[in-house]
Subunit: 356 residues, 2 copies
């Protein structure tokens, strides 16, 4: 393990996240759950059915299906829309999760081809969407994670949605971080979801659960999704370890997203005031941003390691080299609020000295 | 819910299983796990790597991969062997899990066709295997669950294995209940697995965990299986809720399989002594058998409901109508050993009166 990661993991406070991903995350979620409560059973029964209904209501969709992962949920969503429209082409951003993190599962498991819309370093535009050939489905990710968490305005979203409806293109929301976007849009989850035909949300990003996802949409879509979930081997006899934690951390953190967003803006502003340090977006629209340091990681890492060692604050666990700079991702959560002001000030004083 | 299921679920002791599938199954497994222990992370790190190694060693295979489900693990095994042999056909029993419980996932997700070997109501024979055209892989399930848990002798298994090796056919073991078979074979798991190229085992059948499976085989096979696991959306950020419970209940119950097997034989003998009641196999070869009652379920259910209500012992949660009789499955576990002898005697006295 790199010294950067080691010093990050040994830190006693972190700028990102909700604290360590350990067994305590599970035991806290189960603390109020009685031992006698029955497991869900292959997608039915207690825990799973009420939670699916709760998420369907929250998203204003007819039904919702709990999945072990978003990878499984989203491939299935695209396959269903492909079958329903009789069109084998779907479109998404060049840095879509399905394109870069899933070992080409969509294309290996389904007779589907993909079109990449726009450029990798920015959001796709409405004009680019309008220029697409006939497709089954367009997937939009809010916020676009791989470019730092950028998102169109609500007005732009409405225009994309209107265009897709006019053209008969199904619009799917990769809402892995949908809740994290609500403070920026000043909308409910249902108001955003209403622009889409189907929605996926994740429970271990800003919400900080153990794993798990919801796929929501029309009733017929969800019924077909359950069949595909079984085909994939995602219809486990018991999913309650993920469902209980999803519900627990949703309830715990759903009303904190505004604070995470404010903290992200404040923190990004502070980084951007440093010489040789910048963020994308410059002003965050969610709890996340990408943090960049001038220079390559072999020069930057030792500096950050020293800061992490001397302050005990974890800032960066990894760095990816880019053209003339190196980058990491910051996602604000509960951990930031627990940092003592003077310890954080010390981090920024050291950064200011080291990168000047 | 049917009254048969209700009276079964309200029973205070059961003939089958390990007791109720409830949250207590999870809390007991985590009782000795410290909150500070770190989660696994996308197939790496604590919990998952040591457990995979332990299972690989136990099965005498080079590597092992933990999966959320056997459905996912086995489809992937067959796909890998199909790719490796350049042959798109695999063969299995007509009542194989992949054929009847997975919504045709194998065929929907892969360019694979299947051959059904032998008849639905009995084991396939070596002659039937010898008569197969060229295939990539033969899947054998030990014991064959859907016909009551029947299995070939070890000598027959050796002959099948020898034939497959001579013909270049990969032999995959559906060992969902492999541990349950060891007392009959008087062999170790590794001695059975040595006859196969790849092995799947499950942690929520006789072992009574929450969910999860292991797929074991050669190193290259397992490395490819990890890629497919990601494609399927089975490479969850955290699988530890299933891994911890798998390990806990494996350790708790691995040495009890002999007792479950003895109990199954004793119990089956007792059922077969009743008029109008019989089991398949007549003499179990594992902890399981199918239990049959003369007559159709609408006549049989009220009798069993009355027995379950008056004795408080759960015998049957469901009945499936067959030709002139109806059937259920019995799997011996910890619950049987907790039944007071006089309460069980009362059940058999009532059965004797009602089915005479």
């Amino acid at each position: 393990m790199s010294r950067l990661r080691t010093t990050f993991q040994q830190s006693t406070g972190q700028v990102s996240g909700h604290g360590k991903r350990n067994v305590g995350v599970l035991t806290a979620a189960f603390a109020a759950i009685e031992d006698g409560r029955s497991s869900d059973q292959y997608g039915t029964g207690p825990f799973i059915e009420p939670f699916e209904q709760k998420m369907a209501d929250l998203l204003g969709m007819e039904e919702a299906v709990f999945f072990p992962s978003g990878t499984m949920a989203q491939q299935i969503a695209l396959r269903i829309w492909s079958d329903e429209t009789g069109n084998r082409t779907v479109a998404y951003h060049p840095l879509c999760h399905l394109e870069i993190h899933e070992q080409d599962g969509l294309k290996e498991l389904h007779p589907i081809q993909t079109l990449l819309v726009g450029e990798a370093d920015r959001l796709m535009t409405l004009d680019e969407i309008k220029a697409l050939p006939e497709i089954a489905c367009l997937l939009l990710e809010l916020p676009q994670r791989e470019i730092g968490g950028v998102a169109p305005t609500f007005t732009e979203l409405e225009a994309i949605s209107r265009h897709c409806r006019e053209r008969g293109i199904r619009l799917h929301l990769d809402g892995a971080r949908l809740f994290e976007m609500l403070p920026y849009y000043q909308k409910t989850a249902a108001e955003i979801a209403a622009l889409f035909d189907s929605v996926y949300i994740s429970f271990y990003k800003g919400l900080g659960g153990i794993a798990g996802a919801i796929l929501a949409g029309p009733a017929a879509f969800c019924q077909t999704a359950r069949i595909w979930k079984r085909r994939y081997g995602g219809d486990l006899i018991s999913l309650y370890p993920y469902i209980v934690s999803a519900d627990h951390y949703y309830e715990l953190r759903k009303d904190r997203m505004g604070q995470y967003y404010e903290n992200a803006k404040q923190l990004a502003e502070r980084f951007n005031a440093l010489p040789g340090v910048f963020t994308t977006p410059e002003v965050p629209v969610s709890n996340m941003f990408h943090l960049h340091f001038s220079g390559q990681s072999d020069e930057v890492s030792p500096k950050l390691e020293q800061i992490q060692e001397t302050t005990g604050i974890g800032l960066v666990g990894y760095l990816v080299d880019k053209d003339g700079y190196c980058s990491t991702e910051i996602s604000l959560g509960d951990a930031y609020g627990k940092l003592a002001t003077d310890r954080l000030n010390e981090v920024f004083e050291q950064l200011d000295q080291m990168f000047s």
